[in-house]
């Protein structure tokens, strides 16, 4: 029992989920109550995890569960962004009539699954967490069940995700077969010699993970699911599963397969380059903002993976910094989307932003900052994210990756500029109701100021992240 405190956050959130479910069943019209309770429980969860971060690295459950700096940091940004996702979406789900008791509970279970993924140190525990988060996500994607697009996106996500889970499982079993263990550390010890079995295992596992992180060529689901899901769920999709999948990427590449980096490095480099280029090029023709942000997130994941491809601590840290800044930018972008409301209808086409700057100067200024930051223009936060990644990439003399990546940012800059053009240069349209939701405004303010003022003290995140060392 002496290790009880380490697993306390997971236990707490599981108990909360079950409790809320009971409340939901026995108390009528309790959707609002549960939504608020879930938010509070997330805050408590965050406090519990932060409390843990002062402790040493610990293995639990026969070395199948690991609490260390990486997992703590990832959980903190995961739960932190979870809180903001709930805050920003609360008004939205009321307006489009999705405020049901299942919604917050599904989000909580998905977060629980991700926490298990992040902390797992064993193939079986990892898979358990992965499936828990995925199952919750399938339902969330099709949560707006009267909407054709939403059901389609849920179904599509389910089918493709099941396929990738199958591949992942196959990879896991191959790895298990050839390295005689499911424990990550044990696999590392047993896989010193090259053999085809483990290599195949790595490839299948990477395919499965690339699917979860929506990296090219396993990105096909992302645009449809982003577009079809309710916007609050899209925001969830854009941030939380990416954090979890990236930390699992780091874990897999640098714990069990750390010896085989010459096997997987080329794969990661390829996935990274393909994502950067494809994400940048495919987004150019998009008309729907959610779809566009899907492609943009594909290309951003390419940059995050570029850091991992370097096989260096600097690279891992840069990836983690990248995803931390990425999530803030996405929060800000979606907060702006949630504000485009008129007569109880939300707008999500690029054309709907036309001339926004005349009637809504503050909102459009935030969008301007966010979009330039997404494009990676200094002195905004997005530039520093890319800067760290390329710092790591060039340290390893991977000039090709760096140059392709930076050229892709120029292509990507085009479609971000196009949105800015529509906001600032085009004739104005009807006025939107500025939503008076406090949570939304706070989120937008915090994230915009973060992006804008990041350059004043840019070492903040890096100093925290620099404690995470894998190699």
């Amino acid at each position: 029992m002496e290790n009880f405190q380490y697993i306390l956050p997971e236990i707490f959130i599981s108990v909360s989920i079950m409790l809320f479910l009971l409340v939901g069943v026995f108390k009528k019209n309790s959707a609002n109550l549960i939504y608020n309770l879930s938010n509070i429980s997330l805050v408590i969860l965050l406090a519990l995890i932060i409390n843990l971060s002062s402790l040493d690295t610990t293995y639990l459950f026969n070395k199948s569960y690991l609490i260390d700096n990486l997992s703590n940091y990832m959980k903190i940004i995961l739960v932190g962004s979870g809180i903001f996702v709930m805050l920003t979406g609360s008004k939205y789900i009321q307006v489009i009539n999705l405020n049901k008791i299942e919604y917050p509970i599904l989000i909580l279970s998905s977060i629980l699954g991700m926490m298990i993924m992040i902390s797992s140190n064993d193939l079986i525990v990892f898979y358990m967490g992965l499936e828990l988060q995925s199952l919750a996500l399938y339902v969330l994607a099709s949560f707006n069940r009267d909407n054709l697009l939403s059901t389609e996106s849920g179904l599509k996500y389910f089918v493709l995700s099941a396929l990738s889970s199958g591949l992942l499982l196959y990879g896991c079993s191959l790895t298990y077969g050839f390295s005689e263990s499911t424990n990550f550390d044990q696999i590392f010890i047993n896989s010193t010699e090259f053999n085809y079995g483990t290599t195949f295992g790595i490839v299948f596992i990477l395919v499965g993970l690339a699917f979860k992180i929506s990296a090219v060529p396993f990105h096909m689901w992302a645009p449809d699911v982003y577009q079809g899901s309710p916007t609050s769920v899209t925001l969830f999709f854009a941030i939380l599963p990416k954090i979890a999948a990236l930390s699992v990427f780091i874990k897999f590449l640098y714990t069990p397969f750390a010896n085989m980096n010459d096997q997987w490095q080329t794969i990661i480099v390829f996935i990274s380059i393909a994502s950067m280029i494809f994400g940048a090029v495919a987004a150019i023709g998009q008309k729907n903002l959610k779809r566009l942000i899907a492609y943009s997130s594909i290309s951003h994941m390419g940059y995050a993976l570029a850091g991992l491809a370097t096989v260096s601590n600097q690279g891992i840290q840069s990836s983690i910094t990248y995803i931390s800044i990425y999530l803030v930018m996405n929060l800000a972008f979606f907060s702006c989307l949630f504000m485009l409301k008129r007569n109880d209808k939300y707008y999500e086409n690029i054309e709907d932003l036309s001339g926004l700057s005349k009637k809504h100067p503050i909102l459009s200024f935030s969008l301007l900052i966010v979009l330039f930051s997404l494009a990676g223009i200094p002195p905004l936060a997005g530039f520093f994210a890319k800067f760290y990644v390329f710092l790591a990439v060039i340290e390893q003399s991977m000039y090709f990756l760096a140059i392709v990546g930076l050229l892709a940012t120029v292509v990507a800059a085009f479609y971000y500029l196009r949105i800015i053009k529509i906001i600032y240069f085009d004739p104005e349209k009807e006025e939107y109701e500025i939503s008076h939701n406090l949570g939304l405004k706070i989120t937008l303010a915090i994230s915009t100021i973060f992006i804008l003022a990041y350059f004043i003290y840019p070492s903040g995140i890096t100093e925290i992240v620099s404690k995470i060392t894998m190699i």
């Binding site: 100067p361 330039f372 223009i377 200094p378 002195p379 530039f383 800067f387 390329f390 710092l391 060039i394 340290e395 000039y399 760096a402 140059i403 930076l406 050229l407 940012t409 120029v410 800059a413 085009f414 500029l417 800015i420 053009k421 600032y424 240069f425 350059f455 840019p458 070492s459 890096t462 100093e463």
Partner: protein
Amino acid sequence: MNFPILSSLILLPTIGAFFILFTKSTSGKYQSSKYVALFISLANFLLSLYLWYVFDKNSADFQFVENREWLSGFINYKVGIDGISILFIILTTFITPICIISVNATITNRLKDFLIAILIMETFMIGVFCSLDLVVFYLFFEAGLIPMFLIIGIWGGERRVYSAFKFFLYTLLGSVLMLVAIIAIYWITGTTDVEKLYELGIQVEYQNLLWLAFFSSFAVKTPMWPVHTWLPDAHVEAPTVGSVLLAAILLKMAGYGFIRFSLGLFPIASENFTMLVYILSLIAIIYTSLVALMQEDMKKLIAYSSVAHMGFVTLGIFTMTQQGIEGSIFQMISHGLVSAALFLSVGVVYERHNTRLINKYGGLVSIMPRYAIVFMVFTLGALGLPGTTGFIGEFLILMGAFEKNILVAMIASLGVILGAAYMLWLFKRVVFGKINNQELKSMKDLKTFEIITLSALVIPILFFGFYPEPLMNSIEASVENTLNMYNFDLINNLASKD
């Protein structure tokens, strides 16, 4: 620790922009925001003059250096100035208030936003000329794209969207390679501090590639042929004030970068690529002069003449002689003043008559005599008549070029003649001749604020044209130092080969 005068110079306009954010935008004709902006920019100008006054002109060292930890463990925020950068800073702080005064005429909507954009722009421009760290330099260099993109895009002419995109993407494309090079320098030498890099030097085997990466960025920004095509578009579509900023200061960033970084950090590569720069500069001088000759749009003509003048600048820098480099710096300052003045002059008639086509004008001398006089001064300045700043710059550059390569110098001299041709022809068609267009007769002569801005530009053009000593004094020591380092590196390199 002394008062951080450079940081205040950089930050003051941004602080001013914040104040403007809180001024009233609905009442009257937006006066309050304009006065705040004018006040801030004038304060900044005075501050920079004070800086020039206390600046030690006999020393080639960087002065007023501020060095702060910024990106922990990697990069420091380091700013400082030498005799070269101080002139560009003063040019920036001098042009900005002029821009703000001339805002009156051209900007009708969203004046507040426009002033904020200009002040933010000023921050970035001063930052570029102050920074002594490559990453800090890159940050300011790139950040300037954002306000300029908005200035062209929001307040520009008909094809503003196309021009704004072209401007942004061209410049970004050039610059990303420079970012790669900067990071590579960091890993090769362990620092991006310019002063340290001057001491350490960069190994010869890396220099060529790094030089090319920097060149790709500076060549676009200069702009050099064949990547100059964004400039005429941007100039034509930008509002008058935008064109002024673009021509007077933004283009100078690249010339400054050539001297500070290409020559200073990669001397051996600079020597290797001298011929490339000569050829591109000559093409720029001759070809764009010819193109300028045939333009029907006044702004476009001046834009092409800018490309030709910047061709002289790059030529002068890469002569690697004291006269050549000093001439280039002088030419940049001169071009900053003259092109700003020319664009303002075009703005004057454009605002009255709403067209920039040359053949719609003619005979202005009898309607607007004062305008004709100042316009003549600027025209003569642009073609380099002795007694104007333009002459001294071109003369020194050609002197440097004759010392190195007679053929190059002769072809470049041809550019001077062509320059005289297109400028005088422009002047003749617009100002002299009969009044063919009867609508012109209703045009009024210069208003008070136009007299202020234009005469503010006439004075330095003529003053420094007759008495260039103050400017020359300021740059002499620094140029000498740059050249000494350059020659020292070259000799060392030759010695190590033998």
